[in-house]
Symmetry: C2
Subunit: 207 residues, 2 copies
């Protein structure tokens, strides 16, 4: 149990983040003003900036929350995957997609992605890149598991292939968030179709 100061601090940060999720989702990231978040969180504008350096920081904090939950869900799947490698890969991908809109809207994803390209050298851009890397790593972990079980050639580079497969699923996700008319169901359908040929190819791959 921390001091009063620490408790208040933690509480305020939670309130700000929660207000941000709500306002960003309700009004859109662009339309939501810092003043609105501050009001909803019952703090002043200055205090918001005390906790988060920029509006983008708040967004990246939400992305981090989202991706960390996705990673946890994914880990469960990697620890106990379907028997078939191709099926497992598809399951992992769809698991990512299914949990991608819990906190973030498509617009929020677009802004976050734009941020990561726009400012790759800032703490934010780097945090986004780190999350990307973790996801790619998890795909690689899945591949390694199948290698250990002898269901996948052990001489192929799991990290590299994991990166390629992640790039592929990420590219499809970008197509999803940049097209407002595309539903999560559409995305699942596309990805199911795309993964089939990859699955057929997998057993044949040796470096």
């Amino acid at each position: 149990m921390g001091t009063l100061r620490e408790r208040k601090k933690a509480d305020r940060e939670k309130r700000i983040l929660s207000a941000a999720v709500h306002k960003f989702r309700a009004n859109g990231y662009k339309a939501a003003r810092i003043e609105d978040l501050a009001e909803a969180a019952e703090v002043s504008v200055g205090t918001v900036y005390n906790y988060y350096g920029t509006k983008g920081d708040i967004l990246i904090a939400i992305v981090t929350m989202e991706v960390e939950e996705v990673l946890a869900e994914g880990q469960a799947l990697v620890d106990n995957p379907p028997k078939d490698p191709g099926e497992a890969l598809l399951a992992l991908t769809l698991c990512y997609y299914d949990h991608s809109l819990n906190y973030l809207t498509k617009e929020m994803w677009r802004r976050a992605m734009a941020l990561s390209i726009e400012a790759p050298d800032t703490p934010n851009g780097q945090r986004y890149a780190a999350l990307d890397a973790k996801l790619a790593q998890q795909v690689a972990d899945l591949l390694r598991r199948f290698q250990a079980q002898g269901q996948l050639a052990s001489d192929l580079d799991a990290t590299a292939l994991g990166r390629v497969l992640f790039n592929n699923l990420n590219q499809s996700f970008i197509a999803f968030v940049t097209d407002d008319s595309m539903t999560l169901h559409d995305l699942r359908t596309v990805m199911t179709a795309l993964t089939k040929p990859i699955a057929q190819l997998l057993p044949k791959l040796t470096s």
Copy 2:
């Protein structure tokens, strides 16, 4: 020869664009204020907005200029390519890269890319997407030429493969512009290495 009004209009637009290229390159896109461009172009702030809807519009106009020159260079190569398909593909890619920094800096590319992800529904985002599509199309045209000459299986989908190859070269370009320490020479080296295995694979591909 148009009317006085038309001449003035064309002249003003040219001055604004030229001032923008200069200021964006010299100070950075972010740091250059509309007021600065206006002053350099000898017009008022309002007039800048009369010609370009947003600051991003000006940037996209410059990107368009750049990409159109790149497309022209590329066309020359497609019309008269090296004998070997793999070599031709590499040549086209490097031709794109070599002409990518004539008007735009890395920072300007980053902002433009961010814009296209952030606002895919705006005229701007769509114009950027259209340029992407044209480049992918040109890669496909190169493939078709080799198909016509019998150096490439004619039953593979040139448009689809062109898109994949373009995605690949575009992804490498994103890596280039998001890493300030990476030189054009580094990019050429990376791409030369990456294209080799693709070239070896090409003759074997049939749908």
